[in-house]
């Protein structure tokens, strides 16, 4: 550890009051030069807000920020960039139709006379790529490259603008395990080469342990503590985050005795948005009281599978049967009416209506039930409100009253609204995609318990997740999906994750040869 006299960033007594929410409550934090600092906390703990203040996106209600001993007077991203601060947001800010190089030099394009000098731009970016050893091609169009590479473009953009303090907001939320490892290599190398300071916002504790030098824990707007990473473990951090002990203990379970499957998919083929085959001749069965996990790297047909089964996507060929009814070609309303609920992976575009309040988002789909309307026509607004209050309490939905539009909730609370609705409709078959993506430890445990409860009620559950730990914790059986087909079926209680990982990447034969 270097013995710095003045910290590179010093945030003093930061308080941020949003209407109705105290996002940061007198937070003081020093960051040392050249360190990798992890900032962890549950959803809504205020970590993103704190970092957005540092990046100049918000002006704090109270408190001050010093960068290299110099006080920031204006909170504005341009000002922050001038002070060498760069930030990579959770949702990338790139122009999809531009090339990598065009995106990086955007706003400071090299010119020859009056004209944009494309060649020079590519050259500059190539030099940057070489310097940091990032495998990105400057001439690729951003739309065509993977999310992991897009993230590197964002990092390069920050480096190009001269950042030496880099903030990464939940950088691994969208990455596969392999991409996460590569990202960490990149971070370590830029810290080494340029003496960079990196701040990572995350709630994945294993990543904190893997990459950070120090870690700060936030809870309900307050900074609970800052520790040397080597002095703590995941369990200590988890209990600091939620204020109590969280045990991700395994569930005790009994195998289902059902012999008649509730969901049958036979030889299903589905196209993706570009019209290319995404699911190819896939078959599976899910029995009542059973959770079938689908493991795979994103983009191997999982999304299309879930959409086809729930009627959101046209079935090219094959058959889907739910509770002994052929539902192939039915629309989502008809499939729901059979007792199917669906937690989609995309909660913002599909799973919720952002402009509508919590009440409407919780009631939708059931508004014609006698408890919510007279003769399925005249709304009982009072009853709807009561119902929303009940569910908000049961599912611990926080971040404003029941009349808050869901788009202003944090990711975890959005997911709770979605889960509350889908888990309360008395369904017998559930299609659940990425239930705990972007959700903190406490909420994740809560959602897992809800899923297990549905299982014990006799629900047949198809669980699709990119998180292998989650699948292992919940699934009775586990299928791997690769390029739209099932490549193997496993019993998670006796199979090693490493083996499943090989099947996920289409290298199942290698496992067989070992």
């Amino acid at each position: 550890m270097s013995q710095e006299v003045t910290p590179v960033v010093s945030m003093r007594h930061i308080t941020m009051q949003f209407p109705g929410v105290l996002a940061n409550d007198d937070v003081s934090l020093d960051i040392r030069k050249g360190e990798i600092f992890a900032l962890v906390g549950e959803n809504g703990a205020g970590k993103s807000t704190l970092m957005n203040i540092l990046y100049g996106m918000y002006t704090p209600t109270d408190g001050e920020v010093l960068v290299r001993g110099e006080r920031l007077f204006r909170f504005d991203p341009n000002e922050a960039i001038r002070h060498g601060i760069g930030m990579v947001h959770q949702h990338f800010m790139l122009v999809p139709s531009f090339t990598v190089a065009q995106n990086i030099v955007l706003n400071t394009e090299p010119r020859r006379g009056l004209f944009y000098d494309f060649r020079r731009a590519n050259q500059i970016v190539e030099e940057l790529v070489q310097e940091y050893g990032l495998a990105v091609r400057p001439t690729d169009t951003v739309r065509d490259i993977s999310v992991g590479l897009q993230q590197r473009v964002e990092i390069l953009k920050a480096l190009y603008r001269g950042a030496d303090i880099l903030i990464l907001d939940e950088p691994t939320a969208v990455l596969t395990p392999q991409e996460t490892d590569e990202l960490f290599d990149v971070i370590r190398s830029i810290v080494r080469i340029r003496q960079m300071t990196v701040i990572i916002i995350t709630h994945k504790l294993n990543e904190v342990m893997a990459i950070s030098d120090r870690v700060g824990v936030m809870r309900q707007g307050k900074l609970i503590g800052v520790c040397q990473t080597c002095d703590v473990n995941e369990r200590i951090l988890a209990s600091m985050m939620v204020g109590k002990d969280v045990l991700m203990e395994p569930f005790i379970r009994e195998k289902t005795k059902a012999t008649e499957p509730a969901l049958v998919v036979e030889n299903l083929s589905v196209l993706d948005n570009r019209g290319l085959p995404a699911v190819r001749g896939l078959s599976l069965k899910v029995f009542p009281g059973e959770i079938l996990g689908i493991a795979g790297i994103e983009g191997n047909g999982q999304s299309e599978l879930a959409e086809a089964v729930t009627g959101m996507r046209h079935v090219q060929s094959g058959q889907i049967r739910i509770l002994n009814r052929d539902v192939t070609g039915m629309d989502p309303a008809q499939i729901r009416a059979l007792g199917v609920s669906h937690v989609p992976e995309d909660r913002i575009q599909t799973g919720l209506s952002g402009k509508s309040d919590i009440v409407d988002n919780l009631v939708v789909g059931r508004e014609k039930e006698p408890q919510f309307s007279i003769r399925g026509f005249h709304l009982k607004k009072k009853r709807m409100k009561e119902y929303a209050e009940e569910l908000s309490a049961n599912f611990d939905i926080r971040g404003g009253g029941i009349h808050t539009p869901t788009q202003s909730l944090s990711g975890g609370n959005m997911q709770k609204v979605l889960v509350a609705r889908e888990f309360s409709s008395g369904s017998r078959v559930m299609i659940i995609s990425q239930p705990s993506r972007g959700v903190d430890v406490g909420a994740m445990d809560f959602i897992h318990r809800q899923i297990m409860e549905k299982r014990s009620e006799g629900c047949a559950i198809l669980l699709i997740s990119a998180d292998l730990d989650e699948l292992y914790r919940l699934s009775d059986r586990l299928c791997t999906i690769y390029e739209g087909s099932i490549t193997g079926e496993f019993d998670p209680s006796v199979t090693e994750k490493r083996e499943v990982g090989l099947y996920m990447t289409g290298r199942g034969e290698e496992a067989g040869h070992e």
Partner: protein, 357 residues
């Protein structure tokens, strides 16, 4: 009342105030006394039975067209084609009415009303189905279809359906006296149709805000993918909003011709629909707000006529006032944000000791 609603009302009232102030400045600059101008405007709108009647009728007209815009928009479709739907409703009902001349009004009027509603709704259905099935922008189709409808009706009124009565240059055959709606106040435009407009407006308001249909339409309008996912019939709800909107416009077309005219005339509308559409947009498609704002704009419009004749201040001033209100309402987000930045900059200045503030 929610914070957003409060902020909205605040910016609405300050926009109106600003617009009136700017109107006053313009009057003063052009050599008139603003106080006198506004006084004449108010007496022009409310000074006599006749002017009150006119103001109320204008209000009703703005209400029904404003709510028609709002109901389509709640289902996610922006209906710019109300004018065309109104023309078709008018010509359909006038043609049928003239054909039924001599029969009982108890038979003829409901049939004509039905014809007007069907014509308007059908004409709104075309852009709606194009939007839902082929994702063709309804803004473009409805604007273009306005011209088609108006020229088509002009052709009919000057050609195949032209009256044979002597001395009438253009227009359909005149309607039986018994079919016409009578005026409630002599000399004013207020006819019996105002009651029907009120009933229809309130019914649609109820549908939009208190029923499962309105609930479904709202969610469809906000996020149609979500609506489909949640098991709503999103396509049907979007089309339904347009059908209701078109039906209301068609109905107004009939009311205009059966009440104020004696037949279909090609110039019966002075772009009524667009006035109502503006009211709806300013009030963010909220029914109660549309009703209140219709009254305000209705009074302005009627009062302006007296203002022009008595003080010489051009009635175009009302256009300026309306435009300024629209301008400020459209810019409210940006204005509020820049005000917010301003005050936070001041706060930052204070924090560093107020050296430069």
């Amino acid at each position: 009342m929610s914070d957003a609603r409060k902020k909205y009302l605040l910016s609405l009232f300050s926009s109106i105030l600003m617009a009136l102030v700017i109107g006053a400045v313009i009057m003063a600059v052009s050599g008139h006394n603003p106080l006198e101008g506004y006084a004449v405007l108010i007496t022009g709108a409310f000074g006599s039975e006749r002017s009150i009647g006119n103001t109320l009728y204008k209000t009703a007209q703005l209400c029904i067209t404003g709510i028609a815009t709002a109901v389509a928009s709640q289902g996610g479709i922006f209906n710019v084609g109300g004018e065309g739907q109104m023309y078709l409703g008018a010509i359909a009902s006038c043609w049928l009415g003239a054909a039924l001349n001599g029969t009982s009004p108890w038979l003829a009027i409901p049939l004509c009303l039905l014809a007007a509603i069907l014509a308007g709704a059908l004409y709104a259905w075309i852009p709606a189905i194009l939007k839902i099935k082929l994702n063709i922008s309804e803004v473009i189709t409805t604007i273009l279809m306005n011209s088609i409808a108006i020229y088509f009706c002009t052709y009919l009124a000057n050609g195949p359906l032209k009256t044979t009565e002597k001395g009438i240059v253009s227009g359909t055959a005149s309607l039986d006296r018994a079919f016409r709606f009578s005026r409630l106040i002599k000399g004013s435009n207020l006819t019996q149709t105002v009651f029907m407009i009120a009933v229809v407006t309130l019914l649609v308001w109820y549908l939009m805000s208190r029923t499962t249909t309105g609930f479904g339409m709202k969610l469809t309008g906000e996020n149609s993918r979500f609506a489909r996912y949640a098991g709503l019939n999103a396509g049907m709800l979007g089309i339904l909003g347009m059908l209701i909107s078109g039906a209301m416009c068609g109905m107004l077309g009939m009311f205009e011709c059966f009440g104020l005219q004696t037949r279909f005339k090609t110039d019966f509308s002075n772009e009524f629909y667009f006035d109502g559409m503006l009211v709806a947009m300013i009030m963010q498609y909220r029914p109660l707000g549309i009703i209140l704002m219709s009254f305000f704009f209705g009074a302005l419009k009627i009062g302006a006529v007296s203002m022009q004749s008595q003080t010489g201040i051009s009635s175009e001033l009302i256009l300026i006032i309306q435009s300024v209100i629209i301008f400020f309402m459209a810019a409210q987000e940006g204005l509020l944000a820049s005000l917010g930045r301003h005050s936070s900059a001041r706060r930052a200045n204070r924090m560093r000791g107020g050296v430069k503030s």
